[in-house]
């Protein structure tokens, strides 16, 4: 089998049984890989209504199809399980080198079932798969653990959990090496509940492409495409932090737990000068030609000697805006989250939530044990400590805002989440776009990474108040180059009036990103702008030898999305859950609130665009038939 490793590794920690299942070409063609395999496996294997932290839950790592090829940014691995946060489909995507090694060892996906009796770690070296005792590692933070494991297994890649995962903090993350991780939806807690400390992979087999010469050409093509993107230059220079300043300008920040649209000192905290000040070099994931990761070293001051990869918008906004810390403290927070193994976004959200409650007097010094205030980093980190080690109020906050809010009367207004997952950085009140609609329609709850207008122009912020349109903001050449079927393009983008239909675009964007997560390429804007289904189909065909068209890929992506939607519906997702927190409708941020009815209306449009029932958001039978999911 070309392109694919051809096997799925199935490990049952309860019985110690290790299976290696083959992959049928038909599964490959229909679900591509990555999130596709995950969705299929979870839908088939997880019983309805289980407790995510029970041993019935199944944790899957699906490696993207193009991972292991030199195709630019093909490094991503999707991890999925039933989420302890949303109790729906939990999934998260990470790059770095884990996927490459896992596939190089001969496995397209790794399925982990059951629960070990005592702490273990999984050792995979090509065909050798062993469950080894991890008693000595349990309780160590993720960086120590990696150091120990790397000293034993040279050149291995490691996925592991920190103390947060061990203590079943519901928003714990799975760390991917030192600086990356599967952050959102609390998969670390799932891994912790299985008493699995780490997964050590060393792959020497590699992947055999069907047509190396053709692939070589396609790779070059892909590289040139990405390099030609309008945002490429700034991204190689400054990474994601570019966007931070516009958000501040629009007043679309999650400042002080979404009570303020922006902060007066925001331009000092974020933006390009931060990069220039703290970072002198870039770090890339496998085969990436953007290298948005920055190597940050703090040379003097309180946090002297701090070394982290990452100076990205997500941690910056989560801590600098939501909690109000200064930049260096934010970097420290990033390090702590990586060491403890928690989701940076949710951690920031929860801390912000706590501080707001404290300011409102809903919780007091007695509950916490110390003062909490916006921008007080020591307090924030103390609280983080308590949450990680579930001490005192940490016990409650470790449940995430949704559940924590139930413990305090009047706290629900301050709990900013969709379906139980904290909303990251951008405030829909400040800027309404395809992106913010995506936070609602997202299969994994309040999250910004599964739906984004591929040609979003951050220079503009017109809130057309029927919520159905946003400004396109580009000239014709961009329109022409956009890799999208012409008829669809005409339907979505109205070039004369320079507007984009949000509902339609959401569907396209979600499917496109889903496709990225299936084939394992990154969703950084330069990629989204240029790398469409056409080139991916080309690369997929060259790599695997399975001839597919762009349409096939988009159909597969849509199939996966619908399958996950079915999973969520099966777990009891309802339309009424698909809504923003009350605050967004009631409390104004610089004069703006959201109009609930109009949003309901956009959602209806979106459901229609997807071929779902407008009232129940349930995929119509003909849709399922079209996707081959009716059986």
């Amino acid at each position: 089998m070309y392109g694919y490793a051809g096997k799925i590794l199935d490990v049952n920690l309860s019985t110690g049984q290790i299976l290696k299942k083959g992959i049928s070409p038909q599964l490959a063609k229909q679900y591509l890989g990555g999130i596709g395999f995950n969705a299929r496996i979870l839908y088939d294997e997880i019983p309805v209504g289980i407790d995510p932290l029970s041993e019935e839950n199944v944790l899957v790592f699906g490696v993207g199809t193009l991972v292991g090829s030199p195709f630019p940014t093909a490094s991503r691995t999707e991890a999925s399980a039933k989420s302890p946060m949303t109790e729906l489909y939990g999934t998260s995507n990470s790059g770095a080198f884990f996927g490459t090694q896992l596939k190089g060892a001969g496995y397209d996906a790794l399925v982990i079932k059951g629960r070990a009796l005592n702490p273990v770690y999984l050792y995979i070296e090509d065909d050798k798969v062993e469950i080894r005792d991890a008693g000595a590692l349990w309780g160590k933070d993720s960086w120590e653990t990696i150091n120990i494991l790397k000293s034993h297994h040279y050149g291995a890649e490691i996925a592991l959990i920190g103390p947060a995962g061990e203590n079943l903090v519901r928003f714990a993350s799975i760390e991917n090496g030192y600086h990356d991780g599967w952050g959102r939806t609390g998969l670390g807690a799932v891994m912790g509940s299985k008493l699995l400390k780490a997964i050590v992979v060393r792959g020497s087999k590699g992947i055999r492409p069907k047509d190396p010469q053709a692939l070589l050409k396609t790779v070059k093509e892909g590289q040139d495409l990405i390099k030609s993107a309008s945002s490429y230059k700034v991204f190689t220079e400054y990474g994601t932090l570019n966007a931070s300043i516009p958000y501040g300008r629009f007043g679309a920040l999650s400042a002080h737990n979404f009570t303020k649209g922006t902060l007066p000192d925001w331009s000092e905290k974020a933006g390009r000068q931060v990069i220039d000040k703290y970072s002198d070099r870039h770090i890339a994931c496998q085969s990436c030609i953007i290298a948005c990761g920055h190597w940050v070293e703090i040379k003097e001051g309180k946090y002297k000697g701090l070394k982290v990869k990452d100076l990205e918008i997500t941690p910056t906004v989560s801590f600098a805006a939501t909690v109000g810390l200064n930049t260096e403290a934010t970097i420290k927070a990033t390090e702590l989250c990586q060491k403890y193994g928690v989701d940076i976004v949710s951690a920031g959200g929860v801390i912000g939530f706590a501080i707001e409650l404290f300011k409102k007097g809903i919780i007091t010094r007695e509950d916490v044990g110390y003062e909490l205030d916006w921008g007080d980093d020591d307090a924030a980190f103390n609280l983080l400590e308590d949450i990680i080690h579930v001490k005192g109020i940490g016990k409650i906050l470790a449940q995430g805002t949704k559940r924590a809010a139930e413990y305090f009367t009047g706290a629900d207004k301050s709990a900013i989440h969709v379906k139980g997952l904290e909303i990251p950085m951008i405030d829909p009140r400040g800027r309404w776009s395809t992106w913010t609609l995506g936070m609602l329609t997202n299969i994994r709850g309040g999250d910004h990474l599964r739906c984004r207008n591929p040609v979003e122009n951050l220079r503009y912020n017109e809130n057309k108040h029927d919520y159905t349109k946003e400004r396109f903001g580009f000239k014709k050449p961009m329109y022409d180059k956009l890799d999208m079927p012409e008829d669809l393009k005409a339907k979505i983008i109205d070039l004369e009036n320079d507007i984009v239909d949000i509902a339609q675009m959401s569907k396209w964007a979600e499917d496109l990103i889903n496709l990225y997560n299936a084939v394992g390429v990154c969703i950084r804007p330069p990629v989204m702008e240029k790398v469409g289904p056409t080139i991916l189909a080309q690369a997929y065909s060259d790599f695997t030898g399975i001839k597919v068209s762009a349409a096939d890929l988009m159909l597969a992506a849509e199939r996966i999305w619908n399958l996950i939607k079915l999973f969520n519906l099966r777990e009891g997702e309802e339309v009424k859950d698909i809504t923003f927190p009350r605050r967004f409708y009631e409390e104004a941020v610089n004069g703006k609130v959201l109009d609930e009815d109009k949003i309901k209306n956009v959602l209806k449009k979106y459901y229609e665009a997807r071929g779902w029932d407008a009232d129940t958001s349930r995929p119509k039978s003909e849709t399922l038939a079209r996707l081959g999911l009716d059986t």
């Binding site: 292991g68 190089g104 792959g203 087999k205 590699g206 492409p209 070099r281 496998q286 290298a291």
Partner: protein, 157 residues
Amino acid sequence: MNNVIFIDYHKCVGCGTCEMICSMVHEGICSSLLSRIRIVRDQVNGYNVPITCALCEKAPCINICPVKAINKDSGTGAITIQDSKCIGCRQCVQACPFGHMNFNFNKGVAFKCDLCEGDPQCVKFCWTNAINYIPVELAIGTKRFEVASRIVEYENA
């Protein structure tokens, strides 16, 4: 004048595209372990250093090979291994001071950078310009220029 592989360690971001390309071109398999050029990643201190053949003029690998399977091309200066002659004794692996020489147990032969007949693919695909294939004089010149510019800065400061 012979060209050499000249690596600027400042620029490498460790994406490993060169590894993937190299192994794909030479072995038809995408695997960093089968790549000639290898990147050393230190994720604690955050540096990436590509290591490839230094094209030694007096190469230990050539000396140690008991069957003269390793030869230096007088034209390109590439040091290449003849698979048909190699007996797989792995002495070259231990002799190479840079850990560049590597061994393929499936084929039973050692493998190393052969400069892709004077058109190194890793260079072609390195987007950071960390890997260059340039004349020796130019390589040294580049370094010289860096030093010079530093001096100038110092003077002006």
